[in-house]
């Protein structure tokens, strides 16, 4: 076992940080500038996400497995296309083995 804390850069190297979230970003595609223009433009949410959980796209895609729910993307979106919704609205969280926690 390693004597120190060390990891290689990889998706999920800090664990399933999505488990920490108590509210999640939900994108309204109709308002997203990239979707409206039909090309990879704006992408401000991708720039600002501190955990690299957003992939560029038309529109950008948020990886909820690792999104901690900080809300910075919602704050920075110039079109107001991202809203933060309490996690409780989405029911129970999935556990590591994929089963719903009861």
């Amino acid at each position: 076992m390693s004597e120190i804390s060390m990891s290689g850069p990889a998706v999920g190297e800090a664990g399933r940080t999505g488990d920490w979230r108590n509210s999640r970003p939900v994108m309204d595609a109709a308002k997203c500038l990239a979707v409206k223009q039909g090309k990879v433009t704006c992408q401000i949410c991708w720039v600002y996400c501190p955990d690299g959980c957003i992939a560029q796209g038309v529109g950008p895609v948020i990886d909820l497995t690792y999104c901690k729910g900080c809300g910075i993307c919602a704050e920075e979106c110039p079109a107001g296309a991202i809203g933060m919704q309490p996690e409780a609205l989405h029911g129970v969280c999935a556990t590591d083995d994929g089963e719903a926690a009861r």
């Binding site: 076992m1 390693s2 004597e3 120190i4 804390s5 060390m6 990891s7 290689g8 850069p9 990889a10 998706v11 999920g12 190297e13 800090a14 664990g15």
Partner: protein, 405 residues
């Protein structure tokens, strides 16, 4: 002996040791009484006599941070500080051992403020005794030089940082003859450090020191990585291994250079001693005079000096102290509201030991208050009188305290 003997201060002895160890990165911020150590090193770097990077920083916190960064990429690093400088450094003083970096730091022991006082006691290093460094105390300038060189070998074998503690002014600014080993002797004893836990390789990028949570979990390769407790347990094990490595290193040094300092503990007239006087640092040298005087008065007294305070040499102390009547510990520090730190550690280590002595504590020398061999002998006589009056425990005896008036 081929050694070149020079008359030098404790601070020059420490700087000379760092030069002989071929340190590669030095970072420091000035503070009395440490400053002459790094002033000397800076002069040698400037003159080209020492091939090292000297990083002038704006605080002790940054000094240790530079050492952490340099040590992470495998450089041999050195810093020195005292008192409030060490306190200001404290956050990084914890980081270095947790990250298992073999940094060597001289702590030139000085009283903690408030009130301001630049003189000697040992409160500064005692206040970080739990941070996971090896702590070695020196009794004279020769031991400062030899211990600082040994500290690199200990640190690099165990991947733990080592604090070399010596008394401010009493040693740091006092001149004594010091035998300086040749660079060839030290090179033979101390090979270059080639096995850091971390490497910086652009082809194999790493996150060094990322957050770990409570439990072990698989990393990105699928290998199980320890949680916080596993990493700390391995760190603790390394410090316990130092109980073996410190004496081994002292013996290797004796073979290479011709001087040994006792490893974990040292002693003077201990064999038949019924009363054992205990201290760390230069106070131990004074105690040798005290026990010689006590013996002239018919008291079978001896000295047991603490060289390694962390790890605490529990087994060695039990072996040395079982069967004695009294262990009197002189602390130049206090856990305020309790007692001297060496005293309480020693008492704890004696619990349940057959034939354990009574353990009494005395506080002395705080903030540079003078303490003479005569004062120490008088304190020993008081402790013996208390023991003969039936005491098995006793409040801390403050030596040379003048509260009246």
């Amino acid at each position: 002996m081929s050694d070149d003997v020079s008359v030098m201060t404790g601070n020059e002895a420490a700087a000379t040791a760092a030069r002989l160890a071929r340190v590669q990165v030095i970072a420091a911020y000035p503070i009395t009484p440490q400053s002459p150590v790094v002033e000397q090193l800076a002069a040698w770097v400037e003159s080209g006599e020492l091939s090292a990077e000297f990083v002038a920083v704006e605080s002790e916190h940054s000094a240790m941070t530079v050492c952490i960064g340099a040590s992470t990429v495998g450089a041999r690093t050195f810093t020195a500080t005292s008192s409030n400088g060490l306190a200001y450094m404290t956050e990084q003083v914890w980081w270095a051992p947790g990250a298992r970096l073999p940094i060597v730091m001289c702590v030139v022991n000085r009283a903690m403020a408030a009130p301001w006082n630049v003189l000697n006691d040992q409160q500064d290093s005692m206040s970080v005794r739990d941070a996971g460094w090896v702590q070695l105390f020196c009794r004279d300038n020769q031991e400062i030089l030899d211990t600082t060189v040994q500290a690199y070998r200990i640190a690099e074998r165990l991947h733990v940082p080592v604090m070399v503690c010596y008394d401010g002014f009493l040693l740091s600014h006092t001149m004594m003859p010091v035998a300086v080993p040749s660079p060839e002797q030290v090179d033979a004893f101390l090979p270059p450090f080639t096995q850091p836990f971390t490497v910086v390789d652009p082809a194999d990028p790493r996150n060094v020191g990322p957050v770990v949570l409570a439990d072990p979990r698989a990393d990105e390769t699928g290998a199980v990585r320890g949680g916080y407790m596993e990493i700390r347990a391995l760190h603790h094990r390394a410090l316990l291994d130092a109980l073996t490595v410190i004496p081994e290193t002292d013996a290797e040094y004796a073979a290479a250079v011709g001087r040994s300092w006792g490893g974990l503990l040292w002693e003077h007239l201990l064999d038949d001693a019924e009363v054992v006087l205990i201290a760390a640092g230069s106070l131990g040298t004074q105690l040798t005079l005290t026990v010689e005087a006590l013996r002239e008065q018919g008291v079978k007294a001896g000295v047991l000096g603490i060289r390694a305070y962390r790890p605490f040499p529990v087994e060695a102390l039990r072996e040395k102290l079982a069967g004695r009547r009294l262990a009197l510990v002189f602390d130049k520090a206090l856990s305020y509201g309790y007692e001297g730190p060496i005293c309480s550690d020693l008492r704890g280590s004696m619990l349940g030991v057959e034939g354990a002595p009574a353990v009494f504590g005395a506080a002395c020398g705080l903030g540079g208050r003078d303490v003479t061999p005569d004062d120490l002998a008088e304190a020993a006589r008081r402790a013996i009188a208390d023991l003969e009056a039936g005491a098995r425990t006793r409040e801390t005896d403050w030596i040379n305290l003048h509260l009246e008036g």
